[in-house]
């Protein structure tokens, strides 16, 4: 039997390679530690603290009934590890997408999940300076008082306010309403952090902005807003019109449309037009390629025919040569026959004159020779005619080939002519299109992007004229900007922008209120995936010195929030991780079906970096930081960006790296959690199903299940209560956790057999992604059973009467 067991182990390790599992498991601990740190269950990210943190967390969520009865019995689980479902819960609790609603406030003096989440949200917004793990007190609620000073009409109930703070999209929408957030009479200002913070900052944008600032500073008159709008509209109409134009056949046209669709979200018209120009240029190249391919094919055909022609004419020549040879021989024979006849005639004459006997004999011989020559000539003539007969079909073949060649060459000439004519027409059209596009580009270049114009447009007129135009731009009053930059509400808003970018996957750094390089490049990424958002309208710089090393950034917060409210926040579909994974799988399979491979080098490297960053990050105290584990907002962003990200993975070029990391973080995590369950199921199906708990030093309780679940247990008489408990818990943990993992395994096996049926090969990449999707589907079904509002992914805490969590 040991052989059978080894065989089963080999089988499992072949299906689930250990190296893959190791790679995925790497960093899981940090994913547990981080939210436990965030919620104050542990103070330092040490492995030694993990068991206690997990114990407290389990106690808390069980007392709140957050995991249903039919779920795995987590109490039996290892003390230093979380089940996938628990990790999912932990990450949901620390999410800021409104995924988790608090339904009741903690009592004064309580330390429990509610107090921790409440404090966590306050600390995210920098409203408290004490630790998240502190007991709930009046101080906790007083921390929210400044919010009421900055923002009007906030919910008066502390609980509603706390839930609003835990729902960043809703909070931004709320603040965007002028009578609430007062953003129409506000700009956000912040000081340069350091010289290099600007110089290291993405070159393109920096140049853009510097140019922008120069333009702004050169402007003496006010922007003519309406003229600008007209020109913008005109350009947009042109672009639309050009996109509608059909210059290519249907297939090409679709490809073109797809290309331009891809660029739809690119941040400016200039880029849009440039993209169209690129497409046209690419098409032109393609066309010249097509000509080459076509004529190549034709000349190949002709060459082939010519080769045949050569062979056939060689054969004809050979036969002709033979015939000529015969003719020569016949000629010679005729000649010698003539000579012989002459001799014979002379002999005849001599005999007539009465020649001796030997003369008569000689004549006879000559006559014989003549007869022989005649015979030979006859033979040769017959042979010649045979060869001539042979030559007839060869000649015929030659004629046919020649005809064919002629017609083919004619055809080819005609085809090339036609083709060239067609191509010329297309090229002419393309050249015309290119001209139009270049004109359009000039027009776009002429549009003045104006930060000030946009600022004026969104702000209250009186406020703009007096405070901004006069107070800041005309008087160059830096004191005013300094004052603004030091206001608490100003800093709250900067933080809010950072949180928004963080929860949307654009920002991948610490939440520190410092607008550094990461913030700038994340703004750039965000602009790429937000319709109509333009960086030039968001940020501008007011320098204090010529070299531009000192000064303030001015941020048009009203414009930014308005655009965010219009776009990112009004997402119609709520995407879940499952949707994201399914979309990802679809894209990957599409690429694979074209015979290309989605390499995992870049994804592996991304994951390695995430793990490394996270591990070093959680060692630092104080700041709320690190990787965001909420899903809803990120999933939405990633869904939009997925095609681009996949092509980044495919090409191996590192772009949009924060978004990519966020995608990989989610995909790898789900694969890992799914594979864990799948492995459990496989081990059950093919493992030995034998459980042993040591008793004393030389005995053990042993339980063995056979394939149809009959069980036999050996237990020594001296079993203690402790040993009995360990063994029963082992058994119950084993069987209670089976439900989930076995159903998952069953679904995966069914899927695999289906693929085998239709002859599709299964590789680890495909298998692991499928496991992740299936796992996520099951988690969602499971949450539905839990009675949670899945359409909004909301889980809410309802207190049980007897719950009094303490640490």
């Amino acid at each position: 039997m040991p052989n059978a067991v080894t065989e089963a182990e080999t089988l499992i390790s072949e299906i689930i390679p250990a190296t893959e599992v190791d790679k995925l498991e790497h960093g899981r601990e940090a994913e547990i530690l981080q939210p436990l740190l965030d919620l104050g269950y542990i103070k330092k990210a040490k492995k030694a603290n993990l068991a206690n943190g997990i114990r407290l967390f389990r106690k808390d969520y069980l007392s709140l009934n957050l995991i249903p009865e039919f779920a795995p019995k987590f109490l039996f689980l290892p003390a230093t590890d979380l089940e996938g479902e628990e990790l999912n819960l932990l990450h949901t609790l620390t999410a800021l997408d409104g995924d988790f609603t608090l339904d009741i406030l903690p009592q004064k003096g309580e330390i429990n999940l509610c107090s921790r989440i409440l404090h966590y949200r306050l600390s995210i917004h920098q409203l408290i300076s004490f630790g998240v793990e502190k007991e709930f007190s009046s101080e906790s609620l007083e921390a929210m008082t400044p919010l009421h000073v900055w923002i009007k009409n906030l919910p008066s109930a502390p609980l509603d306010l706390i839930n609003l703070l835990g729902n960043i999209p809703a909070l931004i929408q709320f603040i965007n309403i002028d009578k609430n957030g007062g953003l129409n009479e506000r700009i956000v200002a912040f000081k340069y952090q350091k010289e290099e913070a600007v110089s290291r900052f993405n070159v393109d944008i920096s140049d853009d902005l510097n140019q922008e600032i120069e333009e702004d500073e050169q402007e003496e008159e006010e922007d003519n807003e309406s003229d600008m709008l007209l020109l913008e509209n005109e350009v947009d109409d042109h672009i639309d019109e050009l996109q509608k134009e059909t210059i290519f056949d249907r297939k090409e046209d679709e490809a073109l449309k797809k290309d331009t669709r891809k660029n739809r979200k690119k941040r400016s018209r200039l880029i849009k037009v440039q993209a169209m120009i690129d497409v046209v240029l690419a098409k032109m190249n393609k066309i010249s390629d097509e000509i080459n391919i076509e004529s190549d094919l034709l000349s190949k055909e002709i060459n082939k025919l010519k080769k045949i022609q050569t062979t056939v004419s060689k054969e004809a020549n050979r036969l002709t040569r033979i015939i000529q040879n015969f003719d020569k021989q016949i000629d010679q024979l005729e000649k010698s026959k003539k000579g012989l006849k002459k001799k014979e005639r002379q002999l005849k004459r001599k005999i007539r004159r009465g020649a001796p006997q030997d003369e008569i004999d000689r004549r006879r011989q000559e006559i014989k020779k003549i007869k022989n020559a005649n015979r030979e000539i006859e033979n040769l003539v017959i042979k010649k005619s045979t060869i001539n007969v042979q030559l007839i079909p060869v000649d015929e073949d030659l004629r046919i080939i020649e005809n064919r060649l002629n017609s083919f060459e004619k055809q080819m000439t005609k085809l090339i002519e036609e083709r060239e004519q067609r191509i010329n027409e297309k090229q002419k059209k393309l050249v015309a299109l290119l001209k139009r596009l270049n004109n359009l580009k000039d027009k776009v270049d002429k549009i003045k992007f104006s930060f000030r114009g946009r600022l004026k447009k969104v702000l209250n007129e009186e406020f703009y004229l007096k405070e901004v135009q006069e107070g800041i731009f005309q008087n160059r009053n830096r004191n005013k900007l300094k004052t603004i930059s030091e206001e608490d509400y100003n800093n709250f808003l900067i933080r809010l922008i950072q949180i928004f970018q963080w929860t949307n996957g654009f920002y991948y750094g610490k939440l520190d209120n410092k607008v550094g390089n990461r913030t700038f490049s994340s703004l750039d990424d965000m602009v790429t995936y937000s319709k109509g958002l333009r960086l030039k309208f968001i940020l501008s710089r007011l320098s204090e010195n010529q070299s531009g090393t000192k000064g303030y950034w001015i941020l048009n917060i009203k414009y930014l929030f308005k655009k965010l409210s219009d776009n990112l926040l009004n997402v119609k579909a709520d995407f879940t991780t499952k949707d994201l994974l399914e979309h990802y799988e679809k894209q990957v399979l599409k690429i694979e079906s074209k015979g290309k491979k989605v390499g995992n080098e870049i994804t592996d490297r991304c994951y390695g970096e995430i793990v490394e960053e996270n591990q070093s990050d959680i060692q630092e105290d104080g700041t709320i930081r690190r990787i965001y584990y909420g899903i809803k907002n990120i999933a939405t962003t990633l869904f939009d960006a997925l095609n681009d990200l996949i092509s980044i993975i495919k090409s191996g070029i590192e772009k949009l790296i924060y978004l990519l990391k966020n995608l990989i973080k989610i995909v790898y995590k789900e694969i890992r959690e799914g594979v864990r369950k799948f492995k459990d199921g496989m081990i059950f199906l093919f493992g030995k199903r034998q459980f042993a708990t040591p008793v004393g030093i030389d005995s053990a309780i042993i339980t063995k299940f056979d394939f149809d679940f009959d069980a036999i247990t050996f237990a020594p008489p001296q079993v203690s209560k402790k040993e009995m408990k360990i063994h029963t818990e082992t058994l119950l943990r084993f069987s209670n956790n089976l439900n989930f993992s076995l159903v998952l395994t069953g679904k995966i096996l069914k899927w695999a057999l289906k693929l085998i049926d239709i002859g599709t090969p299964i590789g680890w990449a495909k298998l692991s992604l499928r496991i992740a999707i299936q796992y996520k589907r099951m988690i969602i079904e499971w949450l539905v059973k839990l009675g949670k509002d899945l359409t909004r992914h909301v889980i809410s805490i309802k207190y049980k009467k007897n719950s009094k969590g303490t640490t």
Partner: protein, 140 residues
Amino acid sequence: MPDEKFKEPSPTVGASNLNDKFNKIGKQLLNVAVDFTTINVTTLTGNYTHIINTKEQGGKFTVKTDFKNFTKELGKKGGVEAEVKLVAHTYVDFDHDTVNFVSDGVNPNGDFLFDIHNASLNSAKTSRNAFIRMLKEFVP
């Protein structure tokens, strides 16, 4: 040493290889003819330390033999059979009819042994249900 953080890309599992494996597994599972209608759970006690090897793996015990041969192994103790007593036996029929047999006075620890027996029974029932659920998913 950042390089150390990255593992070498794992050897790719050949797709055809995986297909073969899954095919094998599938056939294995579809062809099982097992009796899921009844459950038999037996708990025994006695002296069988000779079957357990406590020396291996740094003091951790391991069970030398697979359980299937356990009873065979029990009889091998220097020709003298080990003394093994029945603690309890439970037979559960598909209609949930249950027959319980519990020995009297097995030892003073009988309660704990019976607790273990109950846990085995519960575990067997739960596992069987999970397995049937899996088959439902799996069998087309």
